[in-house]
Symmetry: C2
Subunit: 317 residues, 2 copies
Amino acid sequence: MTRPDRMAAYPADRVTLREVGLRDGLQMVKSWPSTAAKIDWLTREHGAGVRHFELGSFLPAARFPQFADLPALIDAAGTLPGLHAAVLTLNERAMDAAFASSISEVVCVVSATEAHSLANIRRSRADSVALVRRAADMRDAQAPDVLVNAGIAMALGCSITGAVDPSEVLRLAESCLDAGADIVGIADTVGYAGPREVATLCDGMTRLCGEKPFIVHLHDTRGTGIANAAAALDHGARVLDGALAGLGGCPFAPGATGNVVFEDLVYLSERMGFTTGIDIAALTGIRRILETEIPDETLYGALARSGPPSNLDWRAH
Amino acid sequence: MTRPDRMAAYPADRVTLREVGLRDGLQMVKSWPSTAAKIDWLTREHGAGVRHFELGSFLPAARFPQFADLPALIDAAGTLPGLHAAVLTLNERAMDAAFASSISEVVCVVSATEAHSLANIRRSRADSVALVRRAADMRDAQAPDVLVNAGIAMALGCSITGAVDPSEVLRLAESCLDAGADIVGIADTVGYAGPREVATLCDGMTRLCGEKPFIVHLHDTRGTGIANAAAALDHGARVLDGALAGLGGCPFAPGATGNVVFEDLVYLSERMGFTTGIDIAALTGIRRILETEIPDETLYGALARSGPPSNLDWRAH
């Protein structure tokens, strides 16, 4: 049973945009910002009005040195008023660390297809759902205010099996909710979806989740990221992920674009009538940190080049 | 009265994508491809399945040297089977030249707002519509097979007045049709629109034009280009413009992205179930011409980086 106060972080009556750059954006990079620069990024985005962040992943520092400073980021996030901090937890050890910290949300990952689940997550989908249940149980015992988020990877196309049946994704989403997840996300991990696939799956998620919001995590691998976000908003999605400057890339298409560009997503949301509370000009200014700290990464995004229309009221009211 | 054989170039029951890179894409560049490279571009896109091109603008070569070789391009286009060649004609002299040539379509421009019309086109909207009528009359007398296209600039937002009333655009579109235009286009010249604005205007255009297709010309200035194209396709548009690699820029936002990326538009259309007849891999290969000939121009586009999904049937059937 979801405690209403936990879900207050994701109100059903407005759009929430989650900055996942510090986690998904840095997953594949060869160099990453210093801890001080990451904290600067976090602090300045908070100053720009962003309230939802994925801060990193509890993973062995030897293999994922980009996330070694996660505790410092969690501490920094704890000083910023109203900030909702999520971390990726792929196993029980990570969950232990997460529930002992001051974070507000753990993100578990379930794969939409058995083939990808076994090959990449190295457990069956049933075992992944069981881990969601374990997360919910641990949360209930150790940190009852923490939200459990189950993200369904490859929900709109799979690097191994190709097309994914939306009804299978919906069954899996339902299993995650039954297992105790407070919120479920659908991820177009490899950027396969067009807007119609997003619309269909979001319609199904809207039916499944009712009043409870769900998360849509899109990659812009094939240029449809913002179109897919528009389809998601048109079909009931109220929580969307993005990464500053579109950081993130694609493990299956080297050199490809990454997550949906966060600042462009803010613009789209406002242009479509959804208030975000986020200052785009402040946001695009923060790209400077990335330009300085990870100069070899390609930064994407239109708003950083053009700014919003100067003589038109593009903000939602 | 539109002759049915003229409109055969724009069948109502399928999607037609127009490559405007040779015209709108080169309007603002500081350097441009050699004539041989332009012909190579044209020939190879024709080989990739593209049939609709804007080749350039009949303008004084002293001020617009990038279009000085337009007659050579028209000759080259004439050798390619099934190619439908359009040229921009901003005055009667240009129309005379166009109707004396072997082109298939002249494009006249009308501005959606009186302020922009006077400031940039240097004539009133009424005078612009009168020029459309003059084009239709000249065409009837000199080249009855040539299609007259009236493009409404700033139809989704104006660099001078800001927001544009869609009902005003529809009245203007109707005036153009009454004046003898075979087809009308709506252009988001400065990339102000979000998908909802595009949907509203396309709904109106669908009502106005009935069975007759209309053209949607989008710029990706603020990252909404592909989302706007999706909205257009969802709301009745069947003819869309794009430019290879998103060439074109924006005169009011220096450094901003330009036209919708043609190859990404092909992918979107196919992904949404509309057959284009265009080979994306062949198309992205043609970007090499631009890389070589205009190396200082930024090239955009996701498909050129990622390719289409490899294990999924993304093409329309």
